[in-house]
């Protein structure tokens, strides 16, 4: 259990800068997720904390101790690797017991037995003690790898994409299992992933990494509702958020956005308009999620005319992509929606949930607070209207 502090970490591989002056403060007992596209520097950062890679500049602190020059084994960290890295010649019991049989962290066999029993019960693999890794399914191997990590009480657990190698179905279930076990981890955890659902589900806080820098640091709901720029906005949510350029104009004392070749201005909620006025922004990019676009096949008041570019049933919903004067917007429709390609369709944007970005810098400007996005507590699931 420890707080982990990184100060201005720089890591270069030859000419490539993998970590570019990174600052990070991870709280004691926090479940912290490093999230970003391939090559963003996630795994490098994890290895730097583990001590497998040494940064050229900056300080790494575990607890209050500077550990830049402490060997990995003395840092008291515990790591799960993407490819599990189990000992193929040892059975499940011995694999999980192995960290407690190392020279440095040796325990007596009675304690080992007790601890192995505890984690295998937790991971629901207590019936597999005698099996070798080759006799296990992928999901079970992955649980053994996590179990081996959890069996000690280190300063910090480091997990490098532990679910990435599982197929999609198993990943769903394992994420649930991990989420359920989370509260019994009892230590600081740093978890690397490129799957936004894993990040949102598990994290107390997320750091979005890109090109070795932190784009945004915050909770999963902050990432989803108030992303700091268009890059972060595009990373969270399925289908990807729609972003289109527009111009802020005033009409009859109200601010609106002129976009998508429409005659009418798109309304802007008063509180968001206030911010846009103060900052005197004219060029904006409007971000709107697929859930906030409604459609019909007959014209309605205030709707925009377009054509169906693609209509993709994916089971519990249909993702319809609509072409409006050359811009494609994806929206979520009920799962029995049928549409022909190039058929006319009329859509309406729920501008209350629009996110406004600066048209030049693509940085976040504002969104309306009119619709609360915090889930109401304890409310039973109600039918969707």
């Amino acid at each position: 259990m420890a707080r982990i502090t990184l100060e201005r970490i720089v890591k270069r591989y030859g000419k490539n800068v993998a970590l570019d002056g990174l600052d990070l403060d991870i709280q004691d007992n926090e479940f912290f997720v490093l999230f970003g596209p391939a090559g963003a520097g996630k795994t490098t950062l994890l290895k730097t904390i583990a001590g497998v890679e040494f940064p050229q500049e900056g300080l790494i602190k575990i607890g209050d101790e500077i550990v830049n020059h402490v060997e990995p084994m003395y840092r008291n960290v515990s790591m799960v690797f993407e490819n599990y890295a189990l000992y193929p010649h040892l059975n499940v019991y011995d694999n999980i017991a192995s960290p407690m049989r190392s020279k440095l962290y040796r325990q007596d066999e009675a304690t080992i037995h007790q601890q192995v029993e505890r984690v295998t019960k937790m991971m629901k693999i207590d019936h597999l003690w005698e099996r070798r890794p080759s006799q296990l399914s992928n999901g079970q191997r992955q649980r053994v790898a996590i179990g081996r990590c959890l069996v000690r009480s280190p300063n910090v657990f480091l997990m490098d994409e532990p679910l990435a190698h599982l197929d999609a179905k198993l990943r769903h279930f394992m994420r649930g299992e991990l989420k359920e076990m989370q509260s019994s981890f009892n230590s600081t955890t740093i978890y690397v992933t490129h799957d936004y659902m894993e990040a949102m589900s598990l994290a107390d806080r997320i750091a979005v990494l890109n090109y070795g820098k932190i784009e945004q640091l915050g909770t999963s709901l902050e990432m989803y509702y108030t992303p700091c720029n268009e890059f972060v906005a595009r990373l969270f949510g399925e289908p990807e958020i729609n972003i289109f350029p527009g111009e802020v104009e005033e009409e009859n004392g109200c601010l609106g956005v002129r976009a998508l070749g429409q005659q009418e201005l798109m309304p802007i909620e008063e509180d968001a308009a206030q911010v846009l006025r103060e900052k005197e922004v004219r060029q904006v990019d409007v971000g709107i999620r697929g859930n906030d676009i409604s459609f019909s096949f007959t014209p309605r008041e205030g709707s925009m005319a377009g054509t169906v570019y693609a209509n993709e049933p994916i089971g519990n919903k249909v993702v319809m992509t609509v072409d409006i004067h050359g811009t494609h917007l994806s929206l979520v429709a009920p799962n029995d929606t049928q549409a022909r390609i190039d058929q006319p369709v009329y859509i309406r944007l729920n501008m209350k949930n629009a996110i406004f970005f600066d048209g030049q810098t693509q940085e976040y400007i504002t969104r309306s607070q009119a619709q609360s996005h915090i889930c109401s507590k304890g409310m039973p699931i109600s039918e969707r209207g």
Partner: protein
């Protein structure tokens, strides 16, 4: 007219090499077993299944790259069993692009037609027609090494359709591409098909891809046809447990259950779990006390009950807010039962709730055979 009919197709790969030690190897199992289906002219068919299910073998047999062990195939009215691949009027595009690296994109597209001795005029006309369909009209002077993966695959598909084949076969064309590119190309393949209306068969292991592209899906497992239907049919009415588990994301909850009588109705009970959930009334005539079933219900079709039910209270095992939707899990013995809802709700871990299944969206399967009980 390119209507494709497969009748009782079998394929077995023989162990060609004779063993030195004359050990008699048992014959291989059939890679494709008694496969029959037909598709209409202009239809888009997806063949879907896990690796090793025989889907690529089927495609290769249609293309003429593999011989038939038994069975017949017809394109239009012509039996194609003994036709050479080049005489079957088929366009083929594989996962790896197999473009000619020293030739420009234009020459790559023109290659087949040159080989057939078509005039330059004809070739130009054909290339200029397909190039914009797959958005490769700006790339015609470039050579393959300069292209990205997505562009290569576009050229590859364009080359397959440039001769206007009666049947277009695509073998995992999107597997090499990353997420965004995959989605774009998916849209473009669908639009290309809409434009040229050529009967198309795509082989894929990605259920999302099959669902979003195909008019009808053929689902295979161990060489056998499991179900054929529109995306909505296979999603809403899976023929068996395998199809139910394979189609849909998040995956369907599949739980072993024993049915018991309770008062006027029935309850689902589960091994090692106190969970009790009411059986929807529509099953009353099909079930009896003590019956073993596999219960299948999609995460979106389970919800936390608003009114008190005859079922039991269970604690919430996890709650996650994914922005677009909320996922909630409860523990059922060693399994997790997942729920998904687009509504803005919040639950504490450990909070006691009752569950409710949407009656028309629950499926019962025979625990031995996996067949649907209906």
């Amino acid at each position: 007219m390119a209507q494709l009919v497969l009748k009782n197709l079998y394929k077995r790969y023989d162990n060609q090499k004779k063993s030195l030690f004359r050990k008699k190897k048992p014959p291989n199992d059939y890679a494709v077993k008694n496969l029959s289906f037909s598709c209409h002219d202009g239809e888009f068919i997806g063949i879907l299944g896990p690796s090793g299910c025989g889907k690529s073998t089927t495609l290769r047999m249609i293309a003429g790259l593999e011989e038939f062990t038994a069975g017949n195939a017809y394109i239009g009215d012509i039996r194609i069993n003994d036709l050479k691949p080049k005489d079957r009027n088929i366009g083929l595009a594989f996962e790896d692009y197999a473009l000619y690296p020293p030739l420009t994109v234009y020459e790559n597209l023109a290659f087949n037609m040159r080989a057939k001795g078509k005039s330059n005029e004809e070739i130009k006309k054909a290339v200029n027609y397909v190039a914009p369909l797959l958005k490769v009209d700006d790339l015609l002077d470039m050579k393959p090494p300069a292209l990205s993966g997505g562009q290569k695959q576009r050229v590859n598909i364009a080359r397959a359709i440039v001769r206007r084949p009666g049947l277009l076969l695509l073998d995992e064309p999107l597997s090499h591409l990353d997420g965004k590119m995959r989605q774009t190309l998916r849209h473009e393949i669908k639009r290309m098909h809409h434009e040229i209306k050529c009967t198309t068969i795509i082989v894929t292991h990605d259920q999302m891809e099959a669902m979003s592209l195909a008019d009808r899906i053929v689902i295979m497992k161990d060489g056998e046809l499991q179900q054929m239907g529109t995306p909505l049919e296979v999603y809403d009415n899976p023929a068996n447990e395998f199809v139910a588990g394979f189609i849909g994301e998040p995956p369907m909850n599949l739980l072993r259950s024993t049915i018991v009588t309770a008062g006027r109705g029935f309850l689902f009970t589960f091994a090692d779990s106190d969970l009790r959930v009411e059986v929807p009334e529509r099953y009353d005539s099909l079930i009896h006390d003590g019956m073993e079933v596999t219960l299948g219900v999609r995460p979106v079709d389970v919800r936390v009950a608003k009114k008190e039910t005859a079922g039991s209270f269970v604690p919430i095992a996890f709650y996650e807010n994914l922005g677009d939707e909320r996922r909630i899990g409860v523990r059922v013995g060693s399994m997790l039962l997942n729920m998904a809802t687009p509504d803005a709700v919040y639950f504490e871990r450990g909070q006691m709730v009752q569950l409710e299944f949407k009656a028309e969206k629950t499926h019962l399967f025979h625990p031995g055979t996996g067949e649907r009980i209906r």
